[in-house]
């Protein structure tokens, strides 16, 4: 299905250098910001939920 038509990425990571490279990585920063924003929000909301419950229990 989709898996047959999509290209897999290599199994190792390589840092981009300052030197000119023939391939310019796509501008995909919004996905990065969204991922960090969502993950941080989930952690924060869960932490606040637990700390609020704990504070209520401690009173």
């Amino acid at each position: 299905m989709q898996a047959d038509t999509l290209a897999a990425v290599p199994d190792s990571l390589t840092a981009a250098t300052q030197a000119a490279v023939p391939f310019i990585p796509p501008s995909n920063a919004p996905y990065l910001y969204a991922a960090f924003g969502i993950a941080t929000a989930v952690y924060l909301v869960y932490a606040i939920l637990l700390i609020t419950q704990a504070r209520a229990e401690q009173k």
Partner: protein, 233 residues
């Protein structure tokens, strides 16, 4: 053992401290990701999603779900309510990590693969694990008898652990799109040291958050149990 309100307060305080340390480590990892970690040559900035996705997946698969299962197995053997309380807390935190994995994965898949989702073995089995964890919480809230609740949920917790090796090995067993591990594998990590350093801070943040969340949830439940025991007494 009769739950003790003073002990519950102390446990919750420790949980809060660990959680705050975990959040601080998460902030440090985010700063390192954006300011001090190089961009990957082929995938561009989206590759940096790795630093939030991989620690969450590692904590879910190699820490939280196994801890839930081991506590469940020990409960089935020893019938100690503390083990059930711990298993329930660990399962809840597993669900949070699993949710983050399932939310951040597609955000990497869209720019790199060109699709939000594909029914790859790794992705599909992780989704199954998430559903199993939701089933765990549904089961616990549906059962009123504490002994039945602990026993049945312990069995379901062990089922979650059964999925873990299949999820980890799925990238080797089936021909799929998900990249193979670059760190948790028999050979040396296949990424530059500056990327590995940020990932390690991500792992530390994940572990602190796991411990903080579990200790907090455990303490909250201990406090509730102590109150119920006081009312019953």
């Amino acid at each position: 053992m009769i739950p003790d309100a003073a002990r519950a307060r102390s446990v919750m305080t420790r949980g809060m401290v660990l959680t705050l340390l975990g959040l601080l480590a998460q902030v440090a990892m985010t700063v390192m990701t954006f300011a001090f970690t190089p961009m990957e040559a082929r995938q561009g900035l989206a590759q940096k999603i790795f630093y939030v996705h991989v620690p969450a997946a590692t904590m879910a698969l190699f820490v939280a779900v196994p801890a839930t299962a081991i506590a469940g197995l020990l409960y089935l053997w020893l019938h100690d309510v503390r083990l059930d309380r711990f298993a329930a807390a660990s399962a809840e935190v597993s669900t949070v990590f699993c949710l983050i994995v399932l939310l951040t994965g597609p955000l990497w898949g869209k720019p790199v693969w060109g699709t939000w989702w594909t029914w790859d073995g790794r992705l599909t089995l992780t989704l199954f694990l998430f559903f199993l964890l939701l089933g765990y919480h549904t089961l616990r809230s549906a059962l009123r008898d504490p002994s039945d609740r602990a026993r049945f949920s312990a069995v379901l917790g062990v089922m979650g652990l059964v999925l873990v090796p299949f999820i980890h090995m799925s990238v080797y067993i089936w021909r799929g799109l998900h990249p193979k591990p670059v760190v948790i594998k028999p050979s040396a990590p296949s990424l530059p040291p500056e990327m590995l350093r940020t990932l390690m801070v991500g792992f530390a943040a994940g572990l602190l958050l796991y411990l903080g969340f579990v200790v907090l949830r455990y303490g909250i439940q201990l406090s509730r149990d102590a109150r119920e025991a006081a009312h019953a007494g």
